[in-house]
Subunit: 232 residues, 2 copies
DNA sequence: TTTGATTATTGACAAAGATCAACCAAATAC
DNA sequence: GTATTTGGTTGATCTTTGTCAATAATCAAA
């Protein structure tokens, strides 16, 4: 694998503490690949051959059942995905596709499991990482079950605003139909939900969102760290 | 802690491989307590002082937001809960209450984290356990987002049937209103949903469910291992 | 620039789900 | 044994959401 990627991958919490020797052994077996947009990287149900790390671009995790499809998460650099399946040697539960041109590092799951067995620091980092993943999904379940779609959208907007730096104007990072799917609604209803937020000072034009009255929106959305904070 | 519980706790995958010394150190600091029904063991947002292990009875994990409440999972012996919060030293994301008289082992989270730092086998077991937890929540998210409530109920019934041994008659293990909350619907709609499954041969009387036509129900429910199997 | 494809929006309608009120049955308390 | 409480069911109604069809807007390719 191209050595130029070593440092940025190494900075990931998952790899930062492990022995040099083990990290290099992982990297030796790894591939780096550039993918065009809309490529299905992973199909749910398949055996988990690789741990994926996104280095550039963006990837959508999604799932299907009975001809229906739903977006589960959007992954951005630099982070791993499909860690749990890799380490358990279990089939992928979600599919993944590139949203843009993306650069992905692929580490054979077998290597991950071998190094995991030998490197206690790596195993420990994995625990932190998996606990984080678990808590993220729990938060998103709470969001789904406890909030109406209007409330979900309001909180989604507030989270995106924070990611974008906190200003009153910012761009939605993904297409609206994907936002709709993430929030568990149809694109039509997302359109209507955006209108439903106008009384709280939210205006949308294309991908640009403007929050005219932050306090009104917060008052309606009632964001909660136990649902909306990425860190806690 | 009473030594009589050692063996059954030790058999948990999480503890089965760790060094005797470390296991005993965990057990020395642990409490065992019997709780009556309807006791709130954990409140979301609180610091995670203890790793909980249920030894007898049953516990419901639930979450609240803005005066709404939803059931997240039902925990039965013998298993741990609130592992991720414990190990991350992060606030609980879910609350927990006993549903019946229950016996709970409480291990101070600080001890768990200490032993985790020293015992690589324990750390590795934790990885497997957390990966399992993560995958369970992902499955339940897929269930929620991809299925109508009727389909969810049909699959819930099939899963319960499997747990109960697979016979055509079995008992629902929890109150219907809790089933409703787990499935993200109101008790009223659960009642109607049960009726909606009669054409597929499902009959309910109190807690007793009878499946007259297994194949019809399966044909409608379309169970999928990537959503409904606990193991994969 | 024009064309074609994709995405977003809107309105009309249908389906699903929530709410409210009434009622019933079983369990518990007195 | 009766009264009360709790959980469950049912019907009526209303809200939310999904679906379908039409249209507009955007973007990319020819």
């Amino acid at each position: 694998m191209s050595e130029t990627l070593y440092p940025e991958v190494r900075t990931l919490h998952l790899f930062s503490k492990m022995a040099d020797e083990h990290f290099e052994s992982l990297m030796r077996g790894a591939y780096v690949q550039n993918f065009p947009p809309q490529i299905e990287l992973i199909t749910e149900g398949d055996p988990s051959d690789f741990l994926h790390i996104i280095v550039a671009g963006s990837v959508e995790l999604f799932s299907t059942w009975n001809r229906r499809e739903t977006a589960m998460a959007t992954i951005r650099p630099i982070s791993t995905f499909i860690l749990a399946a890799s380490i358990k040697d279990a089939p992928y539960l979600m599919s993944a596709r590139t949203l843009e041109k993306s650069r992905i590092v692929l580490i054979p799951s077998q290597d991950v499991r071998s190094v995991f067995d030998e490197d206690a620091d790596f195993a420990r980092a994995m625990v932190t990482e998996l606990a984080q993943c678990y808590r993220s999904v729990v938060k998103s379940t709470k969001d789904l079950k406890l909030r109406t779609s209007l409330e979900q959208l309001a909180n989604y907007i507030l989270r995106q605003q924070t990611c974008a730096g906190g200003g009153a104007k910012f761009e939605l990072p993904i297409e609206k139909r994907r936002v709709a799917s993430l929030l568990g609604m149809t694109p039509e209803n997302l359109s209507r939900a955006f209108k439903g937020l106008q009384p709280y000072g939210v205006y949308v034009n294309g991908n640009q969102v403007t929050i005219k009255n932050q306090n009104d929106l917060i008052g309606f959305a009632k964001p909660n760290p136990l649902i909306d904070d990425f860190n806690t």
